[in-house]
């Protein structure tokens, strides 16, 4: 695809309008600080971070964490779609293997290990978008620190603890179990 490059107008080629526009901002902050005693940081992006944490706006894309449902189940079923879709390859899932886990009820599958390398994560939100089980969400955490690289690889335990409980109105697995149970009761062959 060839994108035609627009020619700058004479006015734009002067660069003076752009310079004055930029200088206006600098001047405004200078005047504000000098006469109105207001710090530029407060009215622009940063705030008094880190003393006063920044209040995150609605829809902000922070760190991705795993969530549990109301019954304390890990919602993730290890379908590995997030691992597949993740552009920087930050997610690594270890599937459970063929053994049947009696503790998971009617959920056949859950990850054995789930790791996100927060140093690689670019907070694009593809994992949340692609997740068919609504098990991973980008939360509001933006300040992720660690002493070492290993510390920045969050494992399943940590991700679940940080993610907390998701108030899920669908309750897929509970609904499935109830439906199956109802059919057991409604069995024309069964002798009462």
């Amino acid at each position: 695809m060839i994108v035609p490059r627009k020619k700058l107008t004479f006015w734009e080629r002067l660069f003076l309008p752009a310079f004055w526009a930029g200088f206006k901002v600098t001047w405004r902050h200078f005047v504000n600080t000098l006469f109105r005693r207001r710090n530029a940081a407060v009215v622009t992006a940063g705030g008094y971070y880190p003393e006063v944490p920044w209040t995150v706006k609605e829809g902000y894309r922070g760190a991705p964490y795993l969530v549990k449902d109301q019954e304390g189940r890990t919602k993730c079923v290890s379908c590995q779609l997030c691992e597949f879709v993740c552009p920087p390859k930050a997610i690594k899932i270890t599937p459970p293997g063929p053994e049947v886990d009696p503790t998971t009820g009617n959920v056949e599958k859950r990850p054995k290990e789930f790791e996100i390398n927060m140093l690689r994560c670019i907070f694009c939100g593809f994992c949340q978008e692609v997740c068919p089980e609504e098990a991973i969400f980008l939360m509001k955490d933006y300040s992720l620190n660690g002493q070492s690289r290993e510390e920045m690889i969050y494992n399943m335990e940590k991700l679940l603890a940080l993610g907390g409980v998701h108030q899920d109105p669908i309750m897929k697995w509970k609904k499935k179990a109830l439906e199956a149970q109802k059919q057991e009761v409604f069995n024309p062959e069964r002798k009462e």
Binding site: V77, C79, Q80, P95, P98, E108, K109, P132, K182, Q183
Partner: protein, 571 residues
């Protein structure tokens, strides 16, 4: 998936078969009147086969080119028309002199198109098939809606996701929303059908491919469907298990994720797997396989279609014979005398020197019929130069009537064609033992075999001056070796095998070998170069083409001629 490719299964029979003209989507095509069915017998061509020949794919679940036709999934319903016949049994013609085509309609409702299942309806001259007409599309949509009425949307946890025909056809031919508002029927999940098969009844679409496979191909009538209506369930015969040696093929041919392999279940998603064309090494049949691996770990073997060798099938034993490749106790270091860690660059000149100094006739070689033809050729060059006595170790097992061969070596014919064993494989071992005991044989080269198990006991090995052993896993012989050279499994190198029936087939590298292990061809090539002045070959292809010319029985076949399915060699 070993689903037969259209061009393979729909290969037109010999020209002697009469051809008839039909129309597919309004395009006139000439197709043979008779085509081979799953047994190879010539039977009237079906609409599905005719469409395949015309280059139009008709979706299907229960139809499989290598299984008897059942015609129960209804997915291949197509609208069609036949020439209208007059009272004189001649086609009626319109004003332009063309035959009038009567579209199939419901008998009690002449305005409504009526489909026919393409997999079981034979074609007739002048017939017109409409695989992309609006009525056909509507039929497909309705069939899919019906199949999905009770099918759970388990895609995130289902192993078939990524190779599921239901998923694929629902995308291509289905409708976005289902009209069914009722609760889905819940059937048993995680049903243990046999030692290697787990059944999820909810996902079963009752195509009966598994039943027909096990009854008609494997000859073990173990499966059937019980109950009627919404509670139809697939089950094994009461009191029996589905446990023949071919059960895992049903997992491949299951178009949905109802039958799952207990071995592969939940281990990896199929879209992550890298597929490598290879050959099974469990017996002399040489079944064509696909090795699925990810990040240097092999996850499964699946059969690859080769109508000349294994068709679409493969035995369970061969399929599960991959776990040893990733074993943690693999030999991964080159060891010199006294068990010291060494290096290829140090060890190979040392061995060359020792072999050069060895008097003629004082060297023996025990090789494995699991080595590739290329490696065997280099060994033959070495053996001829050193005047060595050579032999391979025979392995015999129980054959069966379908695929399993009694010869458990994948390349016995390679050894024979290279002249590396006597008329009877293993007959030279006694001579070798006598030679070592008498002190005539001072050097022994062992490739991929544990000789302590076949006549050369530890006390004999202790008498040797030099014992060079190359192997994959540690054993008694590697523990007593002066030089241990870590080798590669077939999945870790390229090469070719000649099967028990004389099929010469090549295979490709799927994973990297561990540690210092490297393909035997490399160091054998160096030895052959050092000792016999043999050209050192940079690639498998070059060596292959060279040996194919050198060995008369192989007839100068070139590497690329083998293709994916191999060539027959006279044995």
């Amino acid at each position: 998936m070993p689903e037969a490719k259209p061009d393979q299964s729909a290969t037109p029979p010999p020209a002697t078969v009469e051809k008839i003209k039909i129309k597919v989507d309004g395009r006139e095509v000439e197709v043979p009147r008779l085509m081979p069915d799953w047994t190879g017998k010539l039977v009237p061509t079906t609409m599905l086969q005719a469409c395949k020949l015309a280059g139009v794919e008709v979706p299907h679940y229960c139809y499989h080119p290598l299984l008897p036709v059942a015609g129960n999934c209804r997915m291949c319903l197509v609208e069609f028309g036949v020439p209208m016949i007059g009272p004189d049994r001649k086609p009626l013609l319109n004003d332009k002199g063309e035959p009038i085509i009567q579209r199939s309609t419901l008998p009690y409702e002449p305005g409504t198109p009526r489909g026919a299942i393409a997999c079981a309806t034979p074609i007739s001259p002048g017939m017109e098939i409409y695989p992309s007409s609006p009525a056909t599309k509507q039929m497909r949509e309705s069939v899919l809606e019906f199949l999905l009425a009770n099918h759970p949307l388990d895609c995130p946890i289902c192993d078939q996701a990524g190779e599921c025909k239901l998923q694929e056809y629902a995308l291509d031919h289905g409708r976005a929303e289902s009209a069914f508002r009722e609760t889905k029927v819940h059937k048993p999940k995680q049903v243990d059908l046999g030692p290697r098969i787990m059944l999820d009844d909810e996902r079963c679409i009752l195509c009966t491919r598994c039943i027909r496979f096990t009854r008609d191909i494997a000859g073990d009538d173990a499966l059937g469907i019980i109950n009627r209506g919404g509670y139809n369930t697939l089950t094994a015969y009461p009191g029996r298990q589905f446990d023949n040696n071919y059960t895992l093929n049903t997992v491949d041919i299951c178009p949905v994720g109802a039958l799952t392999s207990k071995d592969f279940r939940f281990k990896m998603r199929v879209w992550f797997l890298k597929e490598t064309k290879s050959i099974c090494t469990s017996c002399g049949t040489g079944c064509n396989i696909i090795i699925s691996s990810r990040e240097n770990v092999i996850y499964r073997y699946t059969p690859r279609e080769n109508m000349a060798v294994n068709k679409c099938w493969m035995c369970d034993a061969g399929r599960l014979n991959y776990k040893w490749i990733g074993r943690p106790d693999r030999l991964r270091e080159v060891l010199g005398p006294g068990g010291q860690k060494s290096d290829w660059s140090k060890v190979i000149p040392e061995i060359s020197g020792r072999l050069r100094a060895a008097p003629a006739g004082s060297v023996a070689m025990v090789i494995s019929a699991r080595q590739t033809v290329e490696e065997l050729y280099l060994l033959r060059v070495l053996a001829n130069k050193l005047g060595a006595i050579t032999d391979a170790v025979p392995r015999v097992g129980q054959p069966d009537y379908l695929l399993v061969h009694a010869d458990k070596n994948p390349n016995s014919n390679g050894v024979r064609l290279m002249g590396l064993c006597g008329d009877e494989m293993g007959a030279n071992m006694r001579r070798m033992a006598e030679g070592i005991a008498a002190g005539a044989i001072r050097t022994l080269i062992v490739i991929g075999e544990d000789v302590t198990r076949c006549g050369l006991g530890p006390e004999l090995l202790a008498k040797l001056e030099t014992l060079v052993v190359s192997d994959i896993l540690p054993n008694e012989t590697t523990r007593r070796a002066h030089y241990v050279l870590p080798g590669c499994a077939h999945a870790e190198k390229r090469g070719s095998f000649i099967s028990a029936k004389g099929r010469w087939q090549r295979f490709w590298k799927a994973v990297e070998p561990p540690g210092q292990a490297r393909p035997e061809m490399e160091w054998l090539g160096e030895l052959a170069h050092n000792l016999a002045g043999e050209n050192s070959f940079a690639s498998v292809e070059a060596l292959f083409n060279h040996l194919s010319r050198e060995v008369p029985a192989l007839g100068g076949v070139r590497w690329e001629q083998l293709g994916d399915t191999g060539v027959d060699v006279k044995i």
